[in-house]
């Protein structure tokens, strides 16, 4: 069978059980996104992130028959990547930082600043870096949802499936994270930045 781009992830996942080419296609779709996601949630070098990604793909392949087609394949594979990364972080807690956003990673700051619940006008680099600093002051569970929502562009239901938390909890975490950013913004003399 020819596996064109018109195949959905879910169709490819179904085909991949008997067809390695379909799985190869799936990996191509996700390797860049997942590699970036892994490096966003744990502070590791490129090589280690690639090792974790390899393990993620191998696990995905082994568990293909456990994929529930009523879920999005993307949420499922993100969940596996999340677990692999967290597993690595737990084994290496002393050496690895959990969820720390790079100052260069201004996408989240931009997105949050564009969000209607937080005032806008955030465009220069200095401001973005300061917002990233503020975000890094948040507890891990807030940073986790912010990354998925604003950097990985996941909706609440997908975040719920990745983090295995009810949608209501995800929504509350995002709401509280925004409130905390506003509060921290004032505490750290970043007034007028957001």
């Amino acid at each position: 069978m020819t596996l064109g781009s018109d195949y959905s992830d879910e169709q490819l996942a179904k085909a991949a059980v008997d067809d390695e080419a379909a799985f190869y296609k799936l990996m191509q779709r996700y390797e860049h996104k997942l590699l970036r996601y892994i490096r966003r949630i744990i502070k590791i070098n490129q090589e280690t992130a690639e090792d974790i990604l390899q393990e993620t793909f191998i696990k995905t392949y082994r568990y293909l028959n456990n994929f529930d087609p009523s879920l999005k394949f993307s949420s499922w594979i993100y969940r596996i990547a999340h677990n692999e990364a967290i597993g690595y972080w737990r084994r290496q807690q002393r050496n690895v930082k959990y969820i720390s956003i790079d100052k260069e990673e201004n996408g989240l700051a931009n997105t949050l600043a564009d969000d209607e619940t937080i005032s806008s006008e955030l465009h220069d680099k200095e401001r973005q870096e300061k917002i990233v600093e503020v975000i890094n002051l948040l507890p891990e569970n807030y940073r986790e949802v912010l990354i998925l929502r604003y950097l990985e562009q996941k909706d609440y239901e997908e975040i719920s499936d990745v983090l295995h938390k009810p949608v209501g909890t995800v929504s509350a975490l995002i709401h509280r994270a925004k409130d905390k950013i506003k509060k921290l913004d004032k505490e750290h003399n970043l007034k007028d930045l957001i």
Partner: protein, 252 residues
């Protein structure tokens, strides 16, 4: 496409081929998920049985006797409360809760909903068990077949053996129209005058039966019965023991 990323996909495909990695068969996951659901049902049933027995033990208590015997409510509750079954219920409910969270999509439900729904389910099933008499049967089965459970159940022989306060409890070992002989826990044989005593409706005194007797101590190991109470007070509430034709009770 990024060169390095192509390498990762190729490495994974090579590893899959070299190590002959295969997707785990579907039946393995069906079995795994099935096991979780079966375990959940078993845990809920255990919870319902525990709570049913708790209901039974609490309704079995002769609450009306407490003021007559002059026992404080705290002491009374302490003597009768089914701690063992309540502890089993708590353990089982916690296990069922975590088991449910591990079922596929179990995580999607808010904790309070899972707890509330689980409790309602257990309470309704336990209520059904209790009123159908199954809780009593389960309790008595365990009491008779597994002596270890006797340590965890209120010892009614002792609790209701207060002859000076007008209460006797034991097993009938001989009976005629005027009197009966009751073996108590000490063990002593009590001669009980039953000529003027009230018997619960639909009940008949028989040899070998366990019974509670209200009345007066008239001498050493002699007692005058005024009223009989069934050994298990809740009996009168249950379908099988209800008066004929009453609320679905047996008609014949």
């Amino acid at each position: 496409m990024d060169k390095d990323n192509i390498k990762i996909s190729d490495k994974v495909i090579d590893k899959i081929k070299q190590e002959n990695v295969k997707p785990i068969p579907r039946w393995h996951f069906w079995l795994q998920h099935g096991f979780l659901w079966v375990l959940l049902v078993i845990l809920l049933l255990l919870g319902a049985i525990s709570l049913g027995i708790t209901f039974f033990e609490l309704t079995d208590v002769e609450w009306g006797l407490r003021p007559m015997l002059g026992i404080g409510l705290g002491h009374w509750l302490f003597s009768f409360f089914p701690y063992f079954w309540s502890a089993i219920l708590i353990v089982v409910a916690v296990l069922a809760y975590y088991n449910f969270l591990n079922t596929p999509k179990g995580y999607r439900y808010p904790k309070y909903q899972v707890i509330l729904f689980g409790l309602i389910l257990i309470i309704l099933t336990a209520g059904a068990f209790h009123y159908a008499g199954l809780a009593k049967k389960a309790r008595n089965f365990l009491h008779d077949r597994a002596p270890i459970f006797q340590n965890f159940m209120p010892n009614k022989d002792q609790l209701y053996y207060l002859p000076d306060q007008g209460l006797l409890a034991g097993k009938i070992i001989d009976i005629n129209d005027e009197s009966l002989t009751l073996k108590t826990i000490d063990p002593h044989d009590w001669k009980v005058d039953i000529g003027e005593a009230k018997i619960p409706p639909g009940k008949k005194l028989e040899n070998g039966q366990k019974i509670k007797i209200l009345g007066k101590k008239t001498g050493e190991f002699e007692f005058k019965a005024e009223e009989f109470r069934p050994w298990q007070a809740g009996d009168m509430l249950r379908l099988n023991n209800m008066p004929k034709g009453f609320m679905g009770g047996p008609k014949n």
